[in-house]
Amino acid sequence: MKIRLRARLLLAFVLVAVPPVAALALLEGTRVSRAYQATAVTRLESALATTRERIERLAARAEARVTTIATLELPAMAGSEGDPALAESLGARHDLAVLEFVDARGLVLSSRHFPAGSGLPDHDGRFPGNDTFRIERAAGGYAVAERLALEASHPALLRHERVTVRGGSFLDGDTIGDLGLAAQASVALYDAVRRRWTAPPDSPLASWSPGDLDAVSAGETLLAGRPYRWAASPLCPSLFAVAAVPRSDLDRVLGAVRRDTLAISALALLFALAAATFVSQRLARPIHDVATGAERVAGGDLAASVPVATSDEIGDLARAFNAMTGELRVSRARLIQAERVAAWREMARRLAHELKNPIFPIQVSLDTLRRALERDPQGFATLFRETSATILEELATLRRIVDDFSDFARMPQPLLAATDLNAVVERALALHRDRAGPVTIATSLAPGLGPLQADRDLLSRALGNLVANAIEAMPGGGTLRVRTRAEPEAQVVEVQDTGPGLSEEQRTRLFTPYYTTKKGGTGLGLAIVQGIVSDHGGRIEVRSEPGAGTVFAVTLPAAK
């Protein structure tokens, strides 16, 4: 495949410009990704630390208030029997959403968070080996809800009965919803025993089913169809604080880097294209001009020259080209002059040679007549008759020579018309049949050849020359075969003799004007044949071996 210089230059510029930009983008993407990973870890650690701090504060608060209720409030309340609203009033006073009193049998005496459970056994859910976190049954509209609570407990005496005071706060979406705000992370608590989340309503963690958080405490996962990085920290056995940050932040930054890289690459590409176009124009146009000039020179236009726009190597090339074409023009002028002189010389030589042959007999005849007149006046009449016949014969030869030269010089342009090749062959043979003598004429004309666009007279003359040459080549007799045939988009006529054939040297010079192997020939017959065939857009070929006869094949284009 031919790749032009301009395309190669463009490709080279692009290959030079784009890889560095792509490499830069890759490097920046990697750096951003690493920076995000580090930031994500920091955010997750911060969110988990905040959660632990909040829970520790809530635990300390619950401890202090429950201790106050158990040691100060309840002893002072002796006497008020069976007050179901006791937990409500004390809980409201100490801002404890969770507060209940449980007797020694495990029955709830009074409950703030689940008044309907008063008198029922305390069936709250526990975490193994931990009393701080519980799953409390609590009022939930018309139903019973199970809610994660953080509690402190303290023994106390209530109306002389041993009770356990248990109070604290619920850990629900509202409590923990803001824990991750500072770190821009989602925070939730996971109860691994019940496989249940305590999370804000819109938390992506709420729909996740994590594996064994004791074994794996960080990783990446899909939450609500989006990638997140997460970390978990145990609050107690089977209860974990879990924080998650979306990978979409990184994706967003990486996306921005990719977009910027693409934009810069596109700009670099455009710049490279513009630069390549500019440079290639500067570089390729003079070369293209030289190439065009060379094509013109090859086509014979030696006047072609290229502009010299620069003083660099390209300019040197253009100058050298112009110098070369100048030299060529001078050389061709000289050559033409030399050829012309040579042609005139050849013409003069041929003319002198041709004219010399008949002039010499005429001169001898006239000298003979003059001497006869002086020596033998009586026999002059007889000699005059004989000698004048020779002179007339030579003069006829002179006339024929002059006619041949005249014909060759004045070869007319063919007048093309629909012509039947077979008919032309028949006509040419008819003109020469009488002069065939001992030569046998055989024809093989292909039927239905169709018309040719040809000048009937010129074509007949050319074929007549070939037929005449063939007859003359077989003075002792032989066979003249004339064949016609159709070829794709052409018609062919072959004239074959069984004469002595041609040598290699003869075959090479056969169509050269004034070249002849015949005594008395002008050497213009085959040149005229070739001119006629050429004027018809055809070609003539010759096949011959010494002693094997000669075949002339004329191929003419079929009419379209």
């Binding site: 459970g117 008198g119 029922l120 009022a139 018309y142 139903a143």
Partner: protein, 447 residues
């Protein structure tokens, strides 16, 4: 300044005196109820607001007294003939519709025929026993009921049949003048009411967002009466748990029995239903025998139980019931619905405050039987109770019918529930009738 204490003391002495002077005409009364109000045209006795609106605007031929016996309303009196198979009711000549058109027997017959075409329990009970030409109007002042055979309390179903005029006018003590669907109904006193003009000139029934707003409105005098708030009350409702045996988790009678025995009804009533009375009977307290606690059951029941809870049930009661069912091993999911929707919900369990359409024992049992269809032996026992007219046998037949309904453990009565209305000081005469309706036609404001 020195006179001020004396003036206040005098006012304190005089204020009770105004009340002692008796009812006064005039003034406006605002009644608040939680939730969207039912539409006037389709109000039913399933909710407190529905019962109030029908009692304000509608009138029937007879009413029912606290003893379950008929009392005059649009019909002034009645007599029976043909051995109890024919009842002739004489219309009150003063009875008028809201458009001041006189109430005629033809109006009553047409209204009764409309009533009999309904699917209400009392309509079905009456229709089942009427002869072919069961309702007739021999003249403009008398309505005749003809029965195929005599049965107990034949006039009780009429207490649920509203009589309306040809033009659609009603005959209750108040005339509706404006309705903002769901939020407000304004009514004005009907001067020609058959029992006389109500004392208040106008009554407005308004919707309140929730119970807190309801009570706050009463405290700030934005409303004068608050439905379902503590105040005047009557034990007219029954806290009822309906278990659907068609649900897989309740298909086994033993499972239903375990649920019945798991409910600590006494504790529920004592702690969370002030004014309520624990009961294991489907009959009104006046009729029901005393009943002991259900036999304890240790059978665990597991599965998921969908429970539809009427919004009239106190939330704490619902929570406690759920806690008991949880303890039994059931996972209970709760859906709170308005009273009418909860009553006809297809949930496995329904916790509702049942208020009969007509507070007559036989009709009440009929209505309850509709909540627990296909209880074996219940229909026969009910038919026998309806045939018995004499006191002792009738009571025994009613108890037998109630026992038959209870035996299937589909209907679980928990407590007789007080239906109440909070009334602000200065409003007198507000009462709640045997049907749980807040009666305002005798209410008046102390000046």
């Amino acid at each position: 300044m020195r006179r001020a204490p004396f003036a206040l003391a005098a006012l304190a002495l005089v204020a009770p005196g105004w009340a002692a002077l008796g009812p006064r005409y005039g003034g406006d009364l605002t009644v608040a109820a939680v939730g969207p109000l039912p539409r006037l045209a389709t109000a039913t006795p399933d909710s407190a607001a529905g019962r109030l609106l029908t009692s304000l605007t509608q009138a029937s031929l007879v009413g029912l007294g606290l003893d379950g016996l008929p009392v005059p309303a649009l019909a002034r009196s009645w007599t029976s003939a043909a051995g109890g198979r024919e009842w002739i009711l004489a219309l009150d000549e003063e009875a008028r519709f809201h458009d001041e058109v006189k109430v005629t027997a033809a109006d009553a017959v047409r209204s009764l025929q409309t009533f009999l075409a309904r699917a209400s329990p009392s309509a079905r009970a009456l229709a089942a026993r009427l002869a072919a030409d069961g309702v007739a109007a021999p003249d403009s002042g008398h309505v005749v009921l003809r029965l195929r055979e005599p049965f107990a309390a034949p006039l009780a179903p009429l207490a649920g049949a509203w009589i309306t005029g040809l033009a659609g006018a009603e005959a209750g003590p108040f005339i509706p003048t404006y309705e903002a669907p769901g939020s407000r109904v304004a009514l004005t006193a009907f001067a020609s009411h058959v029992r006389g003009r109500p004392y208040f000139d106008r009554v407005a029934v308004v919707a309140s967002a929730d119970e807190e707003h309801l009570r706050a409105g009463l405290a700030t005098r934005e409303s004068d009466v608050a439905l379902n708030a503590p105040g005047v009350s009557a034990l007219a409702g029954t806290l009822l748990l309906v278990l659907d045996p068609r649900q897989p988790v309740l298909a086994d009678r033993e499972a239903r029995a375990a649920i019945v025995s798991a409910l600590d009804v006494d504790a529920i009533v004592k702690r969370f239903l002030p004014g309520g009375v624990a009961t294991r009977s489907l009959l009104p307290l006046a009729v029901a025998p005393s009943s002991g606690p259900a036999a304890p059951s240790t059978r665990p029941v597991s599965g998921v139980l969908a429970l539809a809870v009427s919004s009239e049930v106190p939330a704490l009661v619902s929570q406690r019931v759920v806690a008991h069912l949880d303890a039994l091993g059931l996972h209970v999911t709760v859906r709170v619905l308005d009273p009418a929707a909860a009553r006809c919900s297809d949930a496995a369990g329904r916790l509702i405050v049942f208020v009969p359409e007509v507070p007559e024992p036989t009709l009440t049992l009929r209505e309850l039987a509709l909540l627990a269809p296909q209880v074996a032996g219940a229909e026969e026992a009910l038919a026998e109770a309806e045939r018995e007219a004499s006191g002792q046998q009738r009571r025994a037949a009613l108890e037998k019918a109630a026992a038959a309904l209870l035996q299937d453990k589909t209907l679980v009565p928990l407590a007789a529930v007080p239906l109440s209305a909070g009334v602000r000081p200065g409003i007198e005469g507000v009462r709640i009738d045997a049907g749980g309706r807040v009666v305002l036609e005798d209410a008046w404001a102390v000046p």
